[in-house]
Structure formats: C-alpha cells, structure tokens
C-alpha cells in the first residue's frame, strides 16, 4: 500500500517511465490522499521554474503569437446534455428563412473545410520536412565517425560543429547573442580560399541547430555577420572559424 504512494514524488517531477506513470495515474483515480498530495506537490514543483528564469529570444514572442493566430482552440469539455425532441420547423413559417440560412452556412462551411484540409496538408508537408531534417541531424550527431569541434565566437558565445564524413554532413550548434534585428549570422564552407554559403539564419537569431550537407570538400567552416537575408560573399571579419580537416 505505502509502496505506490511514494510514487507521488517522482510522478510530479515527471520522473516516472511510461508504464509506472500509467500505473500511478490508475492509482490516483481511487486514492484521495494521493490526489490531494499530488495537487500540492505539483504546485510546489512548479515553483522550481522560478529559479530557471531566463530572457527569451525576441523571435520567440513573434513565433508564438503567429502560431497562436493559426491554431484552433479545443472546446471546453461539456457535461453531456439530455437530447431534446427535435422541433418541427416546417410548421413555423418564420423558420423557413432560418433553414435557408442554415443551408447557406453549410455550403460556406464546406468551402472553409476544404481550405482547412489544404492547410492541414501543407502543415503536414512542413512537419514531414522538419521530421526528415531532425532525423538527419540526429544521424549526424550519433554517427560513428562524427567529430566535434568547438570555437569561441568573437564577442561572446560558442559555435560547435559536429561533422560526419560518412554522411557528408555537419550539424552546427550556435549559441551566441543576437546579431541585431537587421542582421543575420551566415555560415560559410571554405574550400581553400573560396567561400560557399552554408546557410543564413533568420535576422536577429543568435542560437541555432543547423544542418549542412556536402561538407567533405571543405577545409574550414566560418561564421560572419551579414545584412538580413545574407550575402553572396562573406563580409569581414570572420568571427569564428573551425577547421574541418
């Protein structure tokens, strides 16, 4: 009996594996003592977030608000209502106009639905692309032949390049301050003295996990600050450089 009660601690800390979590949730349904304790400990644990306070990147706000604008909210869970007898609308002349309105609404609703379906397909395609990128990123990070090189960024921060020759790809982890709202960080692969762009971050973005393909010919990876949108060739100075060979 007391054995399962002690899971309340790990439970509120999200420190149970899935099967134990399920078991404990089952237990919670029947144990008022644990349910009350979990509520209080939950509240306690949430206070630990106070100690994690950190300034969010400015882009987060814009991204979240944009995502919210296109995200549909779920309706409140309503108690089940008793179904009423359907009213016979055809007996009331005034109801006819209502019926016509409903028909129009249904047609418009159909069009909206089609648009939503399309948007859903688009989102799915985007999500799939993101999944693929994530899978490739993980493949590079866990590759047997992966090498890890880190360099300071002039002015503060670090850049790490995890490169896998067998996958001819690298993952760049950038952790530095924002270059300013109108500027962007750009990565360069250097072959001898010839630079090739390896990607531009969004304007103002200072942290990133960035996947680059076709890195085997490169001798070094460089980082510069460019005008928003990036440049065709690097603007000096190069603020971080990591040898790739």
């Amino acid at each position: 009996m007391s054995e399962i009660h002690s899971l309340a601690g790990p439970y509120v800390l999200h420190a149970l594996d899935e099967s134990e979590r399920e078991t404990f949730i089952q237990h919670l349904r029947g144990c008022e003592t644990c349910a009350a304790e979990v509520a209080e400990l939950n509240e306690t644990v949430a206070r630990l977030a106070d100690d994690a306070w950190s300034v969010p990147p400015p882009a987060l706000r814009d991204n979240v608000l944009a995502a919210v604008r296109r995200t549909r909210q779920i309706p409140p869970a309503r108690p089940v209502r008793v179904r009423r007898e359907p009213t016979r609308w055809w007996r009331h002349p005034a109801a006819l106009t209502t019926a016509a309105c409903l028909l129009v609404a249904a047609l418009v609703g159909g069009a909206t639905w089609t648009v939503q379906e399309q948007r859903l397909r688009d989102e799915r395609a985007t999500a799939q692309a993101a999944q693929q990128e994530l899978a490739r990123t993980q493949a590079v990070l866990t590759a047997q032949d992966a090498t890890v090189r880190t360099s300071d960024v002039a002015g503060g921060g670090k850049v790490t390049v995890v490169a896998s020759p067998s996958q001819d790809a690298a993952v760049i982890l950038l952790a530095t301050h924002s270059p300013g709202a109108q500027k962007a960080y750009q990565f360069w692969l250097m072959e001898g003295t010839t630079p090739h762009s390896a990607g531009v971050l969004a304007a103002g973005q200072g942290t990133a996990t960035h996947l680059v393909s076709g890195v085997n010919a490169a001798d070094a990876m460089g980082l510069t600050v460019e005008p928003a949108g990036g440049s065709a060739s690097p603007t000096l100075p190069i603020i971080a450089e990591i040898p790739m060979k």
């Binding site: 800390l13 509520a39 509240e43 644990v45 630990l48 950190s54 990070l141 890890v148 990133a208």
Partner: protein, 205 residues
C-alpha cells in the same frame, strides 16, 4: 528629516509605484484565453515566457531546442486553455507543468544524441550572452526557491534537481547518485513535502 517638510498630500493616482505594471493575474488571463482572447494571451505570454523559456532551456540545454519546446508549450497553453481547472491548481503551475512535460519528452527522445555531444563538447551548449537584467520580482521568487532548496538534505536536493532540471527518470537519478530505487523515490517525495512547507504552498480547492 529636514524642517520644511511638505504637508501630506493625497496622491493624484493610486498607482504610486510607476515602474511596476498592475499585477496581471495569471488565472484571470488564462480564463480569458480560454474564450479566445488573443490580447489576454499576449499578456499571459509576458508574464510566463521567461520562466517557460528558462525552464525549457535548463532542461533541454540546447538553446535552439529550448526555443522550440517553449513555443510548443505556449501554443499548447493557448490550444488547451479551456481544459484548465482552477480547482486542481494555479494557472502558473498548469503552464509550467505543460512546459516541463514537453521539455522532458524532448530530452528523453534526444537523450542519446545529446549525451554524445555534451560528453564531447561540454561547454558547447552553455549559456551565452543572455544573462540580462532580471525583474525584481523574479529575483525575489528565485531567491525564495533557492533558500528553500538549501533546507533539503543533500540526497533530497540532488534527487529533486536531477529529476526536475535534468529531466532524468528516478531510475537514472538512482544510478547517478549510486542510491537504491526506494530511497530515491522516497527522498523525492519527502524533499518535495519539505519544500512545500518552506514555500508555504497551498492549493485552494
């Protein structure tokens, strides 16, 4: 005090502390959010985002991933706001529970990859230049939590912080601390109870 003190005058406005915005109450905001109020969501964002992002960052460590986790969590707050039940806890606790759960899920799915990178490049994902100005209230809350964490025994403290900030399961925590499973789960629980009493946490049901 000097001699030519002015007689007391009633202030024009009641808000006599100009720097502090009227305290937005998370629960009121969340209820408005549940009705689709985007302006209320923006205010709720201002209120919780530093802790949501900070928590995500502390748990997943990689800043880019922390940003993703924070975004996922905040959008989930918007999407599921109607399911918030004040009888079961505070609005902020609800938000941070969602955030922590998301962060932990992320860490567990990426554990292998992250372990590898962090083992080889320990400083690569550490805090860059964002140690910026803190709000006075946030600092105060932080101090209170830190003070209370100090009242725990070493084992209680390590078990709780490894699980919460590290995203480890209690089995992993037991391994890391070289302690038995029953000990670790008990220490988590009685540590949290001590923390609860120190912080004076109550649930008004």
């Amino acid at each position: 005090m000097n001699g030519d003190e002015q007689p007391y005058q009633r202030p024009d406005r009641l808000s006599s502390v100009p720097d502090v915005a009227p305290p937005a109450d998370a629960e009121t905001l969340l209820r408005a959010v549940a009705r689709g109020d985007e302006a209320a969501f923006t205010r709720l964002y201002e209120l919780v985002a530093p802790r949501v992002y900070g928590l995500a960052r502390r748990v997943v460590r990689d800043p880019a991933q922390a940003e993703e986790v924070a975004q996922e969590a905040l959008v989930e707050v918007w999407r599921t706001a109607s399911r918030f039940d004040p009888a079961r806890g505070s609005a902020t606790a609800w938000v941070f529970t969602i955030t922590h759960r998301r962060a932990v899920d992320r860490v567990r799915s990426e554990q292998a990859a992250l372990d590898r990178v962090q083992r080889m490049a320990p400083e690569a994902t550490q805090t860059p230049a964002d140690e910026v100005v803190e709000q006075a209230t946030a600092r105060l809350q932080r101090q209170q939590v830190r003070r209370c964490i100090k009242t725990l025994t070493d084992l209680q403290r390590e078990a709780i912080t490894l699980a919460y900030y590290g995203g480890y399961t209690y089995q992993q925590v037991a391994q890391l601390l070289g302690a038995g499973l029953p000990t670790v789960k008990t220490r988590m629980r009685d540590g949290l109870i001590r923390l609860r009493d120190c912080l004076g946490v109550e649930v008004s049901a």
